[in-house]
């Protein structure tokens, strides 16, 4: 077990270093930030001074070495635009993204599991079929398009909900949060729903498939035969058994919610990390782009690592079999 974890850790670190190199090489190659930052009337001397101040006059490998050294110490460079540490900028925006992702996940779970259960228990009924049709639509609609329609209907046409920003926030332990104020909630609702839609469809499908299989099992028949109420059979016997794969998927999807928040945040001008990334790409703010991409890549590598280790604990074939297990 320990050997497996160690090998897996080594692999994760290798991927991380590889990604850092790719991202750095790539981002290094785009545009010339000096052009954007220096006054167009500036002469060559002033330009050279700005280039040197940003460290852009050094050879590429030296820049990468400086970057790696800093990264190991938690310093991912300073934003060209804001002149503050890039990582700090991301951490500052992170609570907004996490709040959005968390609320989206709550919506997806709170709606997805009950709807999926209904669709799985009554697959041939009108309700069951409509739920499935809805989930297929939810799968095929691009997120940004749903966001636009939401804005069109609720902000422009009905005028019920605001279309951008976070609204009033309340500080919880020094971190601003929107969900505690009415105004904040009204700002939070649409983006969270938008972000939740895809995961909601996914959870409906998963729960439905699980429920359809579970109701045919002997333990459910036995529970029914014992004369237990429908509520208890479904709520305890069926739900408990289908929850394991669902919980796994929810865990895995947490990372991807944060990645997809890039789109939702851009539509609803939600001031989180995703919007920061898009803004930074448009302003060629290289250190922030690199810092964001590396943070999210790290997040994914950590999630995947934890999931793999958990799986190997649950299923010894994973750590013993290696490549032998055919898919």
């Amino acid at each position: 077990m320990f050997a497996y974890a160690l090998r897996r850790l080594g692999q994760s670190l290798l991927v991380l270093v590889l990604m850092s190199f790719l991202v750095f090489v790539g981002v290094y190659a785009i545009g010339d930030p000096v052009e954007l930052l220096v006054n167009p009337q500036a002469d060559a001397v002033e330009r050279a001074r700005a280039t040197a101040a940003l460290g852009l006059d050094k050879p590429f490998l030296e820049q990468y070495a400086i970057f790696l050294k800093g990264a190991a110490a938690g310093d991912l460079g300073r934003s060209f635009v804001f002149n503050v540490p890039a990582l700090g900028l991301i951490i500052e925006k992170l609570p907004a993204t996490i709040e959005l992702a968390f609320v989206a996940m709550v919506i997806a779970v709170a709606l997805g599991i009950p709807l999926g259960l209904v669709a799985g228990l009554y697959p041939e009924s009108v309700v069951g079929r409509s739920i499935m049709a809805g989930s297929i639509v939810g799968f095929s609609l691009p997120t940004f398009w749903v966001g636009l329609v939401l804005i069109m209907v609720f902000s422009v046409h009905l005028g019920w909900l605001p279309s951008n920003g976070r609204g009033d926030t309340v500080d919880v332990l020094g971190i601003p949060m929107s969900f505690l104020t009415l105004d904040g909630l009204s700002h939070l609702f649409m983006p969270a729903l938008n972000l939740a839609l895809f995961k909601l469809s996914l959870l409906i499908r998963l729960t439905r498939a699980g429920a359809r299989e579970a109701v045919l099992q002997d333990y459910v028949k036995f529970a029914r035969a014992k004369g237990l109420s429908q509520r208890r059979v479904i709520g305890v016997h069926v739900l408990k058994n289908i929850l394991i794969p669902i919980v796994t998927v929810i865990g895995l999807e947490l990372g991807s919610v944060i990645a997809f928040a890039i789109v939702t945040e851009s539509i609803f001008a939600w001031p989180g990390t995703g919007k920061l990334l898009i803004d930074s790409i448009n302003q060629l703010d290289r250190p922030v782009i690199v810092a964001y991409l590396l943070s999210i890549v790290t997040l994914f590598i950590v999630i995947n690592f934890v999931v793999d280790i958990l799986y190997s604990l649950l299923d010894p074939r994973v750590r013993l079999g290696g490549a032998a297990g055919a898919h």
């Binding site: 991807s256 997809f260 789109v263 898009i278 991409l293 898919h327």
Partner: protein, 292 residues
């Protein structure tokens, strides 16, 4: 049902679902519109000489200064939305199909090599596939486009990079099953070259699942391109795909000028839905386990 060729049976099976046929009809119509855009559209949306700023942001159905009617309205530059959508559809579908075709070829080769030769080659290829598939596709595309910049070629590269792994995995799993079969054995016994065994014998039998994955992926590619273009990372303004048209209209959405964003969105939606309907039925038709 005893029909002569497998194609005739496929056609008959496919036609069983009316919804799928409707999807196919819609898809053919949309592709036809995209191909014939230069002939059909009332205006060349890229020809600035044909645009009249006085006609900007007209609502659907309003008359132009020269007497024509803008059935779907105009955008901020006085461009006819209908023409813009037809040309945009052309670019969206073109990018989707081109990237899928390229990714399919690349993924197919890697998948076949992986399954046929096994060993360390298989281990390396599949490791890369696993690692790539553990990241969401939008993130990989974003990283690539942040690096590459804008352009039709750049977005195709990004979409290919995102997609190839799906094909590699699909082909590999199909080929692993197929290579155990006797016809592959027979081909080897005949001392045919390895390339011939792989591409002429093994590959054709791995195609059905690949076709299904490819149809679904065209829809994914189109949606992903639209999303990236909407974020301003995909195509340049000179080549507006549907996603870019939607993005362009977004700023006018709040002032109630919905049509600049909405109608390109409808076109995008119809395209994706049509492809998905066709893909769903193809999956059933090509699945040997469901064969009647």
């Amino acid at each position: 049902m005893a029909t002569d060729s497998p194609w005739a049976r496929l056609r008959a099976d496919f036609a069983e679902s009316r919804l799928a046929m409707a999807g196919l009809g819609l898809l053919v119509a949309l592709v036809g519109l995209a191909l014939l855009a230069p002939l059909l559209s009332p205006q060349n949306p890229y020809d600035l000489a044909q645009l009249d700023v006085l006609d900007s942001k007209l609502a659907p159905g309003e008359k132009s200064s020269t007497g024509g009617t803008y059935w779907l309205g105009t955008d901020d530059q006085g461009r006819d939305m209908l023409s813009g959508i037809l040309y945009g559809l052309r670019i969206s579908v073109g990018v989707g199909v081109a990237s899928t075709g390229l990714a399919l070829s690349i993924g197919m080769v890697f998948g076949l090599l992986s399954a046929y030769f096994g060993g360390w080659l298989d281990a390396i290829i599949m490791r890369v596939v696993d690692i790539q598939l553990s990241f969401p596709s939008i993130l990989i595309a974003l990283i690539l486009l942040a690096v590459l910049g804008q352009g039709v070629d750049k977005i195709i590269v990004a979409l290919v990079a995102v997609q190839w792994a799906y094909y590699a995995r699909t082909v590999r799993s199909a080929a692993l099953v197929e290579r155990q079969k006797e016809y592959v054995e027979a081909a080897k016994v005949l001392a045919l070259s390895e390339a011939r065994v792989v591409f002429r014998h093994l590959l054709p039998n791995c195609l059905p699942p690949l076709i299904v994955v490819a149809t679904v992926q065209v829809a994914h590619a189109i949606a992903l391109e639209a999303t990236l273009s909407f974020l301003g990372l995909g195509l340049p303004v000179t080549e507006p795909s549907l996603g870019l048209l939607i993005s362009n209209g977004f700023q006018y959405l709040l002032s109630g000028k919905y049509w600049i964003s909405f109608y390109p969105g409808v076109a995008l939606l119809l395209t994706i839905m049509a492809i998905n309907l066709v893909a769903d039925q193809l999956r059933d038709v090509l699945n040997p386990r469901l064969r009647r």
